[in-house]
C-alpha cells in the first residue's frame, strides 16, 4: 500500500507514492472528456441490452424490443438480392436461349450469373473456366460428346448423363477383350488403328490389321466408319485425337485406349434439375458454357 504521496511541484499533480530508485509515479487523473465518453458508453450499453438480444433467461433469451435476429437479417438480405435481380430474372425465364445471346444486357447478366453458378457447382469436375481433367470433358474446346449447341448443352445440364433420371443421356460402351473376344495382339492392332484415325499412329501394318477388327466388332456403329463419332449416343470422335482419358505423354496414349476397350469407363453427370437448379439458372449456365469458346 502506497502511503507516501506528495504533491509534484512541476505538474501540480499528486504522486502515487510508488518510488523506484528515486523515480516517482504521477497520479494524473483521466481527462474529463475521456471519463464522460466512458460514462456515455455505459449508458449506451444498457440501451443496447434492451433493444437487442442480450441476456439469457430460464427458458430462452431476451429477444430485444427491436426483434432483431441474424437469421431474419440473412433472409432479408437474400430477398433484397433476389429483388435486385428480379427484372433480369423474369426476362431470363421467358426468353429463349437464342434471344438471351442476342440481347447484350441479358447476355452479360446471364454470363455473370452463369460464371458464379458454374464455379459453385460444375468447376469441381470440369475445372474453373471449363478446362476439364482426366475423365472430365473440357468444355472450352471444339469437341463435344453430347453436342455443343445451346440446346444440347442445356439438355445435358438439365438431365445429366448416365444417372437415375429417366431423361438423362444414356449409353454404354461394351467391354471387349479379356481373352475371349480379342487377344492382346488384336487389342494392340485395334488401338493402333484408333490412333491412326487421328494420324497419331506409329505402326501402319498393325493399323491395317486393326481396321478389320474395328468394323467386325461393330465399333463403327457408334464411333463411325472414319471415327467421326456420334453425339446422339455420346460416342467420341476418335478421329479428332482429343482424349477424355488422356495419357500424360503421347506415347502412353495407346495403353489408355487398350484399357478403354477392355474395361470401358463412362462418366456420370448428375441431373441439375434434380439437384435443385431452376430453369433460369440452367439457362445462365448453358449460355456461360457455350461462351467458353467451344459453343456451336
Amino acid at each position: 500500500m502506497a502511503t507516501n504521496t506528495e504533491k509534484d511541484t512541476v505538474s501540480g499533480q499528486y504522486t502515487t507514492g510508488h518510488e523506484w530508485d528515486g523515480i516517482k509515479e504521477l497520479n494524473t487523473p483521466l481527462p474529463r472528456w475521456w471519463v464522460w465518453v466512458f460514462y456515455i458508453t455505459i449508458v449506451w450499453a444498457v440501451g443496447y441490452w434492451v433493444v437487442y438480444p442480450s441476456w439469457p433467461t430460464m427458458n430462452g433469451y431476451w429477444a430485444g424490443t427491436f426483434g432483431w435476429h441474424s437469421r431474419t437479417q440473412v433472409v432479408q438480405d437474400l430477398e433484397q438480392a433476389q429483388a435486385a435481380k428480379g427484372v433480369y430474372l423474369s426476362k431470363l425465364k421467358d426468353a429463349s436461349l437464342e434471344d438471351i445471346i442476342k440481347d447484350k444486357d441479358l447476355l452479360n447478366f446471364a454470363l455473370a450469373g452463369g460464371r458464379s453458378v458454374f464455379n459453385e457447382n460444375c468447376a469441381a469436375c470440369h475445372g474453373v473456366g471449363g478446362v476439364g481433367a482426366y475423365g472430365f470433358p473440357n468444355l472450352a474446346d471444339d469437341q463435344w460428346l453430347w453436342g455443343g449447341t445451346l440446346d444440347d448443352i442445356k439438355t445435358t445440364i438439365t438431365y445429366g448423363i448416365r444417372n437415375t433420371n429417366p431423361n438423362s443421356r444414356q449409353s454404354e460402351m461394351p467391354a471387349f477383350g479379356g481373352g475371349d473376344k480379342l487377344n492382346d495382339a488384336q487389342l494392340n492392332d485395334l488401338a493402333e488403328y484408333v490412333l491412326s484415325l487421328s494420324k497419331n499412329g506409329t505402326d501402319p501394318a498393325a493399323a491395317e490389321r486393326g481396321r478389320a477388327i474395328f468394323s467386325s466388332n461393330g465399333c463403327d456403329g457408334c464411333h463411325g466408319e472414319t471415327g467421326e463419332g456420334n453425339q446422339a449416343v455420346g460416342a467420341p470422335a476418335l478421329a479428332a485425337g482429343m482424349w477424355l482419358y488422356k495419357a500424360k505423354e503421347v506415347k502412353a496414349q495407346k495403353a489408355q485406349i487398350i484399357s478403354q476397350i477392355q474395361n470401358p469407363k463412362g462418366g456420370v453427370m448428375p441431373s441439375w434439375a434434380d439437384r435443385g437448379l431452376d430453369d433460369a439458372t440452367i439457362k445462365e449456365l448453358a449460355v456461360y458454357v457455350h461462351s467458353l469458346g467451344g459453343g456451336k
Partner: protein, 493 residues
C-alpha cells in the same frame, strides 16, 4: 555575433523553467485593422477566397454530353477535368508533377521570403484570420474579450458568444460547400444542396470539411501550426542568412524599457539616450496570432504574417522613431546594420535560388511535354489464365484474351486489330461475325473503354515451346496511330 547566431531563439517560447509540459493558454490576438501587411493579408484573402469559391463556377465547353465545368473531379465518372486537360484515373501521375512543383515552389519562396505561405496563403491562416475578425466583431477588442471570458454568464455574454459561434458555423459550412463544388456540377449541386436533394456523400463531405474548419480555425488555431503542421518544421531548413524573415532589431531595441513621461514635444534623441528603442509595449505580442514574442528571435511558432511589423511601426510612429524595429529583413542585413554598415544589401540571387528555379523549370517542362504528348488512345491485352490454352481438333491451339481499347477522345473510335509474331494465327471476337480472321475492326463509343473477348487460334506448329511472343497491333483508323501491345501465346509442351 555572426548572422547565424542572430536568428537563434534565446529561449523556448511559453515554457516555464524546469517544466517539460506547458498547458495550452488561449491566445487573444489583437485584431489591428491598419498597416501595410494587414492590407496585404486582406488582399490575399480576397483573391484566394475568390478562387476557392469562384473557380467551380467557371465553364469550359467540351462538346455535347461532356461536363462543362472548367475544374471538376468527377468521381463516379472516373475523370478529372482542368480546363483543356482531361485526365483518366491511370494518369494520376500528373498530380505527382503538380505536387512536386508545389513543394519546390514552397522551398523557393521560403528561401527568398521566409514563411509567406504560412502567413498569407495557408487555408488555416486565412480561416483563423477571418474567425478572429468575427470574434472581434461580436465580442470586441482583445481586452474586452479577455474581460468577457472572465465575466460570469449573462444574457449579453450569451448573445455575443452565440452570435460568434453561429457566424463561425456558417463560415465553416460555406468552406465545406466550396469544397464539394469541385466534385459535381456547381449550379445544379448548389440547387440540390439547398433543396435537400443532394446525395448523402455531398452533405457528408460538406459537413466533414465544415466541422474541421470550425474546429481548426475556431479552437485549435495556432496549435495547428505549432504542433500539427509538418511544413512549419522543415521550412526553416530552407532559410539562410539572406532569407527575408520577420526580425526584431536587437541591436537597436535593447535594452528595452517603458517610456517615462510624455514623448510629445521632446526630441526623441534625448528621450532614448542611453537605452534601446523598444518601449516594451507588448503590441507585437498582442497582435501575434500564435501568441509568441518576436523579440525572442526567429522561432518555430512564427508563421511570418508580419502583423507585428504593422503593430510596431504604428508605435514607432507615435514615439517619433524610425520604423522597422520589427521588420521583414534578412539576418545578413541585421548583422551588417548592427555593425553600423547600412550599405549591405541582401542578395536575392543566390545559388540556391538558381537551383530551385532550375528544378521547378525542369519539372514544369517535363509536365508540359507529358501533357503535350498525352495518349488519346491506348490498348491493354490481358491473357486469360483459366484456361491458359485449349487444344482444338486438327492440332490447333486456342488462347483467350480480353482486349481493352481506351478511347480517350469525345468521338466514336474505329480500330483495326492485327497480330504479329505468330504464323497462321486467326482472330475470333465474341459478338463480331467471322472466325479465324487475320484482322478485325472494332468500335468503341466516345470517351470510354471498349472491352472485347478475343480468341486467337493457331496451328500447333506455329508455336515453338510452351510459350511464344505475340504482338497485338492496333491501328486507330481515324488518326492512323498504331499501338503495339506485347502479349504471349501459350500451348502444351
Amino acid at each position: 555575433m555572426s548572422a547565424n547566431q542572430a536568428v537563434l531563439p534565446k529561449s523556448l517560447p511559453r515554457q516555464a523553467k524546469g517544466a517539460l509540459y506547458a498547458s495550452h493558454q488561449k491566445a487573444y490576438p489583437r485584431f489591428q485593422n491598419n498597416g501595410n501587411f494587414r492590407r496585404l493579408k486582406w488582399l490575399a484573402m480576397a483573391i484566394l477566397f475568390a478562387i476557392y469559391w469562384g473557380f467551380p463556377w467557371l465553364r469550359w465547353d467540351r462538346g455535347p454530353g461532356a461536363p462543362d465545368q472548367a475544374i471538376l473531379i468527377d468521381m463516379p465518372g472516373r475523370r478529372a477535368y482542368f480546363f483543356f486537360i482531361e485526365i483518366w484515373p491511370q494518369e494520376v501521375y500528373y498530380l505527382t508533377g503538380l505536387l512536386i512543383i508545389a513543394a519546390l515552389g514552397l522551398f523557393f519562396v521560403s528561401a527568398l521570403l521566409g514563411r509567406v505561405w504560412c502567413g498569407f496563403a495557408c487555408w488555416q491562416t486565412l480561416f483563423t484570420d477571418l474567425f478572429v475578425w468575427v470574434e472581434q466583431f461580436f465580442q470586441g477588442e482583445r481586452n474586452a474579450r479577455l474581460a468577457l471570458d472572465r465575466a460570469p454568464w449573462s444574457a449579453g455574454k450569451l448573445l455575443r458568444k452565440a452570435a460568434t459561434q453561429a457566424s463561425w458555423l456558417l463560415l465553416s459550412l460555406l468552406s465545406g460547400y466550396g469544397f464539394v463544388l469541385y466534385f459535381d456540377n456547381a449550379p445544379t449541386l448548389t440547387r440540390d444542396l439547398v433543396f435537400g436533394q443532394a446525395s448523402l456523400n455531398a452533405y457528408g463531405f460538406m459537413g466533414m470539411i465544415g466541422l474541421f474548419c470550425y474546429l481548426l480555425a475556431g479552437f485549435a488555431r495556432e496549435q495547428v501550426c505549432i504542433y500539427m503542421c509538418p511544413y512549419s518544421r522543415f521550412q526553416s531548413a530552407m532559410f539562410d542568412e539572406h532569407s527575408l524573415l520577420v526580425s526584431y532589431e536587437v541591436w537597436r531595441g535593447e535594452p528595452r524599457g517603458h517610456l517615462k513621461g510624455a514623448v510629445q514635444g521632446r526630441n526623441p534623441e534625448d528621450v532614448f539616450a542611453g537605452r534601446g528603442h523598444c518601449v516594451d509595449c507588448r503590441m507585437c505580442v498582442q497582435v501575434c496570432p500564435t501568441g509568441i514574442d518576436i523579440r525572442d528571435g526567429n522561432q518555430l511558432a512564427c508563421i511570418g504574417c508580419a502583423l507585428c511589423v504593422d503593430a510596431c511601426n504604428s508605435v514607432m510612429d507615435r514615439v517619433g522613431l524610425p520604423r522597422g524595429l520589427v521588420s521583414y529583413d534578412s539576418s545578413f542585413n541585421q548583422a551588417a546594420r548592427s555593425r553600423g554598415d547600412s550599405s549591405a544589401r541582401t542578395r536575392i540571387m543566390r545559388p540556391r535560388v538558381y537551383v530551385y528555379v532550375a528544378v521547378i523549370g525542369l519539372v514544369a517542362a517535363v509536365m508540359v511535354y507529358a501533357l503535350g504528348t498525352r495518349k488519346t488512345y491506348d490498348v491493354n491485352v490481358l491473357h486469360e489464365r483459366t484456361p491458359v490454352f485449349v487444344e482444338l481438333t486438327g492440332n490447333r491451339i486456342r488462347n483467350g484474351y480480353t482486349v481493352k481499347i481506351l478511347n480517350m477522345v469525345r468521338e466514336e473510335g474505329r480500330y483495326r486489330m492485327a497480330l504479329e509474331g505468330l504464323a497462321n494465327a486467326g482472330i475470333t471476337v465474341i459478338g463480331i461475325d467471322g472466325e479465324g480472321l487475320s484482322a478485325v475492326e472494332l468500335g468503341v463509343p466516345p470517351d470510354s473503354v471498349g472491352t472485347y473477348r478475343v480468341f486467337i487460334t493457331a496451328p500447333r506448329a506455329s508455336l515453338h515451346g510452351k510459350k511464344g511472343d505475340l504482338t497485338v497491333v492496333m491501328t486507330n483508323l481515324s488518326t492512323g496511330k498504331v499501338v503495339r501491345h506485347e502479349s504471349f501465346f501459350a500451348g502444351p509442351e
